[in-house]
């Protein structure tokens, strides 16, 4: 089977674009990725399009209506916050399987402001605030407090994640925000669901990202100088664990994916130079240091305390600013992470460049649950 390479990848600056349609936002990133690859829409053999908010709305076809209706296969993908990574992986599989040599993956989302989630069905009475909370800040607060229970992780340690990622975003012109948030600012921000304050919740933004994936044959034809090799592409669903159906278990689904990804890539966590992981809330990031094997179980608090995950540290995490500050347009996030890591592997990340980066990992979680992990490698 052919290796698969990223030849073009890009994202729009995340923000709020109510004047645009979802297909227009998707089209923007698609054209940027095509330009990055030096290719045209006529060169694409298939499109894999990730979007959640209009999952039944044929967004992929409408993207092509904006940039060129070439009649290629279009697959529309929805998988909660793993939507973009899933679209990318479907594209990867089609090339890996030898069906196509050149395909396009697009992730796009237009978001409202405010709380996501909420417990209870449509019948009877509202369950939110009656049977606990189903809001996303609460669900991930409870996942964080499980870590506190097991390892004594503190509110301050969770808050430090947000300080770090907001700092990183000051170096990323494509992030929604470029604002420093000192520890006391994060900890004294409005409490949403303890221990997550408002500055420890990801930002709902509009955004899009896209990638052109090609076979080895095509990559050699186009030139390898900026190519990025996909060493692993993994998708898991939540395996049975005792509390998963009541308290979504984002740990087991990630550990399962990480084990498969490291095996597929033939590398270990010690080989990874940078990570973009799913910091939908500050509490979540802490869990994934351990879930991805970046440290031993119980060491995540120490990792954030000792700046090992900051730019310049042993394994920088979310140097883009992460979902906390770059923003989290659900369907675009999984490909935006791939853009970020690819940019470092190409040595083009400017002020936030992780020096000497050769291998990077991206991770997303879709609650309910899905986990997508990609391991990428510098070629030239």
């Amino acid at each position: 089977m052919s290796d698969v390479y990223i030849m073009g990848v890009d994202m729009i600056k995340f923000g709020r674009f109510p004047e645009k349609t979802v297909p227009q936002l998707g089209a923007q990133a698609a054209l940027m990725a095509l330009d990055d690859a030096g290719l045209k829409i006529q060169d694409m053999e298939a499109l894999y399009c990730g979007n959640l908010g209009q999952a039944s709305g044929m967004v992929g076809q409408r993207v092509l209506q904006e940039i060129g209706q070439t009649g290629i296969a279009v697959v529309n993908v929805a998988n909660a916050c793993a939507t973009g990574a899933t679209a990318f992986r479907e594209a990867w599989m089609s090339v890996k399987a030898g069906v196509y040599d050149v395909v396009l993956a697009v992730g796009v989302e237009q978001m409202g402001k405010g709380l996501l989630g909420g417990a209870g069905g449509k019948t009877g009475i509202p369950k939110e605030g009656l049977l606990g909370s189903g809001t996303m800040p609460s669900v991930f607060a409870e996942a964080g407090m499980e870590h506190t229970r097991n390892h004594g992780t503190t509110f301050e340690q969770f808050a430090k994640v947000s300080v770090k990622n907001h700092h990183h975003s000051t170096l990323n012109p494509k992030a929604m925000y470029q604002i420093e948030t000192p520890l006391e600012t994060v900890m004294n921000a409005e409490m949403i669901s303890y221990p997550n304050t408002k500055l420890m919740c990801s930002v709902n933004v509009d955004g899009s990202a896209a990638a052109v994936l090609v076979s080895e044959k095509k990559a050699k034809e186009l030139g390898m100088s900026r190519a990025v090799k996909v060493r692993a592409s993994v998708l898991t669903s939540d395996p049975y664990t005792d509390r998963d159906l009541v308290m979504p278990d984002v740990n087991a689904v990630t550990r399962k994916a990480a084990a498969q990804a490291y095996e597929m890539a033939g590398v270990g966590p010690e080989d990874v130079n940078l990570v973009e992981l799913h910091d939908c809330f500050a509490t979540a990031e802490i869990l994934h240091y351990e879930n991805l094997g970046l440290c031993a179980d119980g060491e995540a608090g120490r990792m954030i305390d000792e700046d090992e995950v900051a730019l310049g540290g042993r394994v920088p995490v979310n140097v883009s600013g992460g979902l906390l500050s770059k923003g989290h347009p659900l369907g675009a996030t999984g490909i935006a992470n791939i853009y970020e890591v690819s940019t470092h592997l190409r040595g083009e990340a400017d002020k936030r460049q992780v020096e000497g980066a050769r291998i990077g990992l991206t991770h997303v979680i879709g609650l309910g649950s899905a986990c997508g992990i990609h391991i990428l490698e510098k070629v030239a």
Partner: protein, 140 residues
């Protein structure tokens, strides 16, 4: 509209609403022993088919994890404690933890709790029916 004879259960697995003996019902797989809330045909742990048996879940348990909710949807009273409780004998349930101060220092992990049943905070459905819900509170 007829007069409501008894409060309705907030979820189908709350049994005995309107009696003096309400309880939570689980379903246990007789092959692997996994316990689920709500009726189901098959086991999502071992895949066994048609092996689910209804069981009465304990009214006692221990606090596993929680969050303190300070912002929720409009009209929802805050703050409140959203709690995950492991019931004695099996089964995990999420609900409001009441009669504690909503501060981390007042909410120790593994604190013993009772499952108690009461009116669903005055909430009524579109037909004006009232409901009975379950809550957790520090064990008596």
């Amino acid at each position: 509209m007829s007069e409501q004879s008894a409060p309705l259960p907030v979820v189908p697995h709350l049994k005995g609403a309107g009696t003096d003996d309400p309880y939570l019902e689980g379903h246990k797989c007789s092959d692997c022993g996994s316990i689920f809330l709500g009726v189901r045909e098959n086991c999502s742990n071992c895949g066994a088919r048609g092996k689910m048996e209804a069981i009465r879940l304990s009214n006692k348990g221990k606090l596993y994890s929680y969050s303190i909710v300070h912002r929720s949807f409009p009209g929802i009273e805050v703050p409140y404690v959203s709690a995950i409780v492991d019931l004695d004998g099996g089964g995990t349930v999420k609900g409001n933890l009441i009669n504690v101060e909503p501060k981390p220092e007042s909410i120790p992990f593994d604190m013993p709790v009772d499952v108690v049943f009461d009116d669903a905070l005055g909430r009524k459905d579109g037909d004006g029916n009232s409901y009975i819900s379950y809550f957790f509170q520090p064990a008596a």
